[in-house]
């Protein structure tokens, strides 16, 4: 039976980041006299950072594949601009606009993926070019001015909440119900996974740890849902986020596709000689990134209710930082979806907390940079210690 100490040692990376997140949250909670965890602020935090998380999902795949994408901020702005122009100047309906925007994102991803995967130009260069190209095209598209406002349905993309079917004063019951169902589902899945492991004779974590872990998760889920429920309920964005995280978590850990991306990043030549069509796979990884950048771009635009030429500046850096803080390896082949999500939340909480404390953007940047360096140092240090 493993002891808790060895368990922690073996998973120091995963738990370490989670603990860091909790510590930082507690710190800001204390420093801001409890504002951080107020329902309205938590909701804001999710809304503000949703696009970072969405793009981090795509970026993680790119980084695991061994590359990088610097263009995502510009692409998000460009797609946002297209959506705005379509709706405001050409009166396109919001549903069609979303569809077209996603397709444009996919085409941009295909454009960049083509140069990287088939022409073999390093992604750093291709996406640096993309960063300039699409920032420029955003300006062209908007002709230098802000375009808005949008139909309410489109705004709902970022500011909407799920409807409540029970009209109980001061509490969003549907949200609580969803939280309860989710908690039960998570516990059920964990029990099944544990049974499966035992069936094949693998060592499982101690029972008390299993119980504590599930209790903790249930508390976290229900706590978050309660906070949301006492405001306006679950934001639509959070639901989209949850679905996307689950989907990408599943793809990376359970499917042939995911396995191949990790193999390609771990050793491209060996993967190719094992029958993996690596150029095609890399191409589609970029297409996927384009679609997610487009989605993020629309959410940002919807949130601001205007498309501006300066939207999304510097997003790529937050997104890349989220992946590396979350434990992805710059040389490829290593990185987890959940890590990137925790990394993105960490950055989000710091952005939010520091703003609440009135720390200027100058120091915010410096502090975020240090956190990135420390997190990666922690990785390297651990790796060297284990070898």
């Amino acid at each position: 039976m493993k002891t808790l100490a060895t368990l922690f040692k073996n998973n120091v990376r995963e738990y370490g980041m989670l603990i860091a997140l909790i510590v930082i949250m507690m710190f800001f909670q204390y420093q801001t006299d409890g504002i951080l965890m107020k329902p309205v602020n938590i909701t804001n935090l999710v809304l503000q950072n949703s696009y970072i998380i969405i793009m981090a999902l795509g970026m993680l795949l790119i980084i695991v594949a061994g590359w990088i994408d610097l263009s995502v901020g510009s692409v998000a702005a460009f797609v946002g601009a297209i959506a705005a122009v379509l709706m405001v100047k050409y009166d396109f309906n919001w549903g069609l606009t979303i569809l077209i925007s996603l397709i444009v994102g996919a085409l941009i991803g295909a454009f960049q993926g083509y140069w990287v995967a088939y022409v073999k130009i390093p992604a750093f260069i291709v996406t640096l070019a993309g960063m300039l190209i699409f920032r420029g095209l955003t300006l062209v598209m908007l002709q230098g001015e802000a375009v808005g406002p949008f139909p309410t349905q489109f705004q709902k993309l970022s500011s909407g909440f799920i409807p409540d079917f029970f009209h109980y004063e001061g509490l969003h019951v549907t949200t609580l119900l969803i939280g309860a169902i989710l908690s039960i589902l998570l516990i059920f899945l964990d029990i099944r996974g544990r049974k499966n492991q035992q069936k094949y004779g693998f060592e499982v974590t101690p029972f008390y740890f299993f119980v504590v872990k599930n209790l903790f998760i249930t508390l976290a889920v229900m706590g978050l849902c309660y906070l949301m429920a006492s405001y306006k309920g679950l934001p639509t964005v959070l639901v989209i986020l949850f679905l996307l995280i689950t989907f990408y978590g599943f793809i990376t850990s359970q499917t042939v596709l995911g396995r191949r991306i990790y193999a390609m990043g771990g050793n491209e030549k060996a993967a190719r000689l094992s029958g993996v069509n690596t150029p095609r796979l890399l191409f589609y990884t970029f297409v996927n990134m384009g679609v997610l950048a487009a989605l993020a771009g629309m959410i940002v635009t919807a949130r601001l209710n205007t498309a501006t030429p300066k939207a999304g500046v510097g997003f790529e850096l937050d997104v890349i930082a989220a992946c590396f803080i979350g434990g992805a390896s710059a040389t490829g082949g290593i990185g987890k979806v959940i890590g990137a999500v925790v990394g993105a939340f960490l950055i989000g909480v710091m952005n939010n907390g520091m703003s609440l404390l009135g720390i200027g953007i100058d120091w915010q940047q410096a502090i975020k940079g240090l956190v990135l360096l420390v997190a990666v140092f922690f990785d390297v240090y651990n790796k060297n210690k284990n070898v």
């Binding site: 499966n196 069936k199 094949y200 693998f202 359970q254 499917t255 042939v256 596709l257 396995r259 191949r260 990790y262 193999a263 771990g266 050793n267 030549k269 060996a270 993967a271 190719r272 000689l273 094992s274 029958g275 993996v276 069509n277 082949g333 290593i334």
Partner: protein, 512 residues
């Protein structure tokens, strides 16, 4: 002995699980050209790496005396300081720098870090003149042929005031006239009192210039022949290189050979960068069910290139020729299709091309055939565990768990993972490229046993190997490749190391 410039006494060097050098003694006289010959893997390069400090003092046992003084080199700079310069087979020149820049790299003519270009250029002209190379000092290395680059390497050595020059297969990639020139230069340097050690597989040129020949075999000195006293024939050298006891190194097998399962006809491949260089020249070969076919040859003979071009055109351009499986023509134009048609290629370089080192054993094994352990694109992990555990047991992979990273396995066990991964693809034809390179004797025996078992299951096996005893001990039939062509085919029963070695080595006679 005042006329001895170098003496290496009782040198022993071990790698994990392998004794690469076993009590080797080697000495070079002042002002002679001393040839060092032996099969691939006999320990020639290791010995030279010990000498030049690539393997620092302390990582081997034994003593080195240079000009009568004991030397304990910690790195290559220290050995160069006393005048010992090694020129590797893969040249160490920077392609986009000029001749002059390369000549003084790490040894710049400079004052306070500022390079004196006038001095550099004039010195370069002087050195180029000594090696008989008429090029501008500003010519970029990338714009010169290999023969001229070789001369630049020698000029670079001269710039370092070389006393003993070591050349590792200097003529391997040179044509006839460039080789002549190079050998002439060695003789000329000898006149000027510079001794050299020449590692070469070309016995003709060894005989032409060497004053003495030392033969290494299995990491031990066999003999040193004095060419000035006796006339040495090539046969005499070959006998020294190969004579050894083969009993008990190979598991017994009785072959049941069926019909032809795989055949390649008129196969031509060109080099991917030098488009006019043919790396496979009109090759025909076949393998039958239950048969182990060996492809012998020197490194660089084009065996790996042939195998990879067959395996879904993983190497080369302008590939032409036909492939047949059990008499029917098959399409092997992509790796996917090759695998689908039952062909597997286990690479010679398992770390670079065979394994994903940062991943688990399990993931490495199933990568070739993820379909078999997934439903609708979703991996069935329990099934994957079961399947890979079976391979671990069947091939005896020594590991703490199939969740162990491939990185942390020994060479022999890594090789077994590579084999497992290709067996998991369910091939009918297995091409094994140097399947026992760099692994110890015990693991080699296990690999041979696996090969025998696969053959007895009716698979066709092609084994590329640079170790002749292995080819003779394992194969039913042997092809010999040289410079991109099949130059010999003989049944193992009629083959001996001497005969195969002759096919491999004596190209000049056959070609002219």
């Amino acid at each position: 002995m005042p006329d001895v410039i170098l003496e290496m006494r009782n040198i022993t060097k071990t790698f994990p699980g392998v004794k690469a050098l076993d009590n080797v003694t080697f000495s070079v006289r002042q002002g002679e050209i001393h040839a060092l010959v032996g099969e691939n893997g006999a320990g020639k390069s290791t010995l030279m790496k010990v000498l030049s400090g690539v393997y620092p003092h302390g990582s081997y046992s034994g003593d080195i005396y240079f000009q009568g003084k004991e030397c304990r080199f910690r790195d290559i700079t220290e050995s160069e300081e006393v005048g010992l310069v090694i020129i590797h087979q893969e040249l160490a020149l920077i392609p986009f720098l000029s001749i002059a820049e390369n000549l003084f790299l790490g040894n710049e003519r400079a004052k306070n870090g500022v390079i004196n270009w006038n001095e550099s250029i004039s010195k370069t002209i002087e050195l180029l003149d000594r090696v008989g190379l008429h090029e501008s000092p500003n010519t970029l290395i990338t714009n010169m042929g290999v023969g001229k680059q070789q001369l630049v390497e020698i000029a670079k050595a001269l710039a370092k005031k070389v006393k003993l020059l070591i050349l590792d297969e200097p003529t391997a990639s040179l044509n006839e006239s460039d080789s002549e020139k190079l050998l002439g230069l060695l003789l000329q340097l000898k006149e000027n009192g510079i001794s050299s050690i020449l590692i070469s597989h070309k016995l003709g040129e060894v005989n032409k210039v060497a004053d003495s020949i030392t033969i290494l075999r299995d990491g031990a000195t066999i003999e040193t022949l004095d060419c000035q006293k006796d006339t040495i024939t090539e046969d005499r050298i070959i006998r020294g290189m190969v004579g050894r006891d083969l009993t008990h190194r190979f598991p017994p097998r009785d072959s049941k050979i069926g019909d032809t399962i795989f055949e390649v006809r008129n196969w031509n491949v060109y080099h991917p960068l030098h488009e006019n260089r043919k790396v496979s020249d009109d090759i025909n070969f076949n393998v039958r069910k239950g048969e182990v076919v060996g492809i012998a040859g020197l490194m660089g003979a084009g065996r790996t290139e042939l195998a990879m071009s067959i395996f879904g055109q993983a190497y080369g351009t302008r590939i032409s020729g036909k492939a047949y499986k059990s008499g029917k023509e098959i399409d092997i134009s992509t790796i996917d299709k090759a695998i689908e048609n039952g062909i597997a290629y286990a690479t010679e370089d398992r770390k670079a091309f065979g394994l994903i080192l940062i991943e688990e054993i399990k993931n490495n094994i199933t990568l070739t055939n993820l379909k078999a352990i997934s439903d609708g694109g979703v991996i069935n992990e329990p099934k994957e565990m079961t399947v890979t555990s079976e391979y671990r047991d069947k091939l005896n992979i020594k590991c703490s768990s199939i969740l162990q990273l491939a990185l942390n396995l020994s060479g022999g066990n890594q090789q077994k993972v590579v084999l497992s991964k290709w067996l998991f693809a369910g091939p009918d034809i297995l091409i094994l490229d140097e399947p026992t390179r760099g692994i110890d004797v015990g693991a080699k025996y296990e690999i041979y046993t696996i090969i025998n078992r696969l053959a007895s299951e009716g698979k066709g096996i092609v084994m590329i190997s640079s170790e002749l005893p292995e080819i003779l001990g394992v194969c039913d039939r042997i092809y010999v490749m040289r410079e991109g062509r099949m130059v010999g085919e003989l049944p193992a029963s009629e083959a001996s190391q001497e005969i195969v070695m002759k096919y491999i080595m004596t190209q000049q006679e056959v070609m002219e």
